[in-house]
Symmetry: C2
Subunit: 205 residues, 2 copies
DNA sequence: GTCTATACCTAGATAGAC
DNA sequence: GTCTATCTAGGTATAGAC
């Protein structure tokens, strides 16, 4: 359950290899932030961690798998943060907006996610299945939280939970796209204001 | 005004060149639909229209400019269809959903748009400015239509027109993303249902 | 203006040695 | 686990033919 979102513990790696993997993942994110997605080439990544191109690929096989691993970890962290915010009494909108805001503050992450997702829309792409699973699981997670809130009387059921999950994800992805072309937007704040303006707060709090 | 969205008439081309340009644009869209965005390489496109790689590039300079030209034409057609639907008495939601549905029925177009937009999020990308302008103009167009509807008493002003424009575009982009991974969704229908479920129809009709 | 051939560069991936 | 060398694919610039 939620296998794609929750952390996948690396098992078959020596301590040295595991450490190098960590270093590569952190460096990759930093390079995407600094040089952009296009600048995050195998060569640049390899140089940054002091490896040859082949040396770097040894740890992940392909560039896509490396990137997917970064996103998998973000998913796991986001899930923890989302559920923690809810546990602290925040509304679903607030918890969701918090995740968005947090990610927007990690330069490169939004770009990495959006770019890779669109490339992976091709069914033959190595990361296609990851995104198919991820979308399904993210929607299911939100839908479940909505149902729980409805059951506890914290939310009306005038909107079908599946639809609400779909719209949450669509808004998140869509706001990120516009944000990438006009970074003045505070996505988290924006999504909260939008829901408030659209009277969704009445439904959701 | 709306220079990016409205059709740009080609001026400095002979009849022969103009015809070839048309053939290339139509073929490119067909190839994206059949082979996917990744399959739409310069070589494949050139083969399909019976030109050498350089011969094809002669007409557009770069691959990106070719793709942008396709999107520009779609924008122009969409704008016409959108305003025509409004003129026929449809609501903004209906007119907007109609455009979405129409585009979803042109295989390859959604993929072309989404892929190119994300690649162009890099400020150095050749198509970056096109998308910056496009987002601005699409929002402005929607915002203007909303204001007009408010002025005529066909819509409440409880939601700021700018915010409504932002959410329309975000929903559109976001739904397209999920649609690409789960094409069972009828985007146009979905967006109408969503707005209805979210009680936006009360605001918008 | 339309188009070809060639040559070049970058990027990702693979084979096989150490 | 890491390297060197090599392969492939894709995009583009140049020179020049018609």
């Amino acid at each position: 359950m939620l296998a794609t979102l929750r952390a996948m513990t690396a098992i078959r790696h020596s301590p040295k290899g595991a450490a190098k993997r960590e270093e590569i993942l952190e460096t990759a994110l930093e390079i995407v932030a600094r040089l952009g997605y296009n600048g995050a080439t195998i060569r640049n990544l390899a140089d940054a961690v002091g490896l040859s191109k082949t040396g770097l690929l040894h740890h992940f096989g392909t560039k896509e798998e490396l990137f997917v691993e970064i996103l998998r970890r973000r998913d796991a962290e986001d899930l923890v943060a989302f559920e923690a915010a809810l546990a602290q009494g925040h509304s679903i909108v607030e918890a969701f907006a918090g995740v968005l805001t947090r990610n927007a503050n990690v330069p490169g992450l939004v770009q990495l996610y959006s770019r890779l997702a669109m490339e992976a829309s091709d069914p033959n792409h190595a990361a296609h299945d990851y995104f198919v699973d991820r979308y399904r699981e993210v929607r299911r997670e939100i839908e479940g939280q909505v149902r729980a809130a409805v059951a506890e009387g914290r939310m009306t059921d005038s909107v079908a939970p599946e639809q609400l999950a779909l719209i949450f994800v669509a808004l998140s992805d869509g706001l990120q796209m516009q944000w990438m072309f006009d970074s003045g937007v505070e996505m988290g704040t924006q999504i909260e204001e939008l829901f408030r303006a659209l009277r969704l707060d009445a439904l959701l709090e």
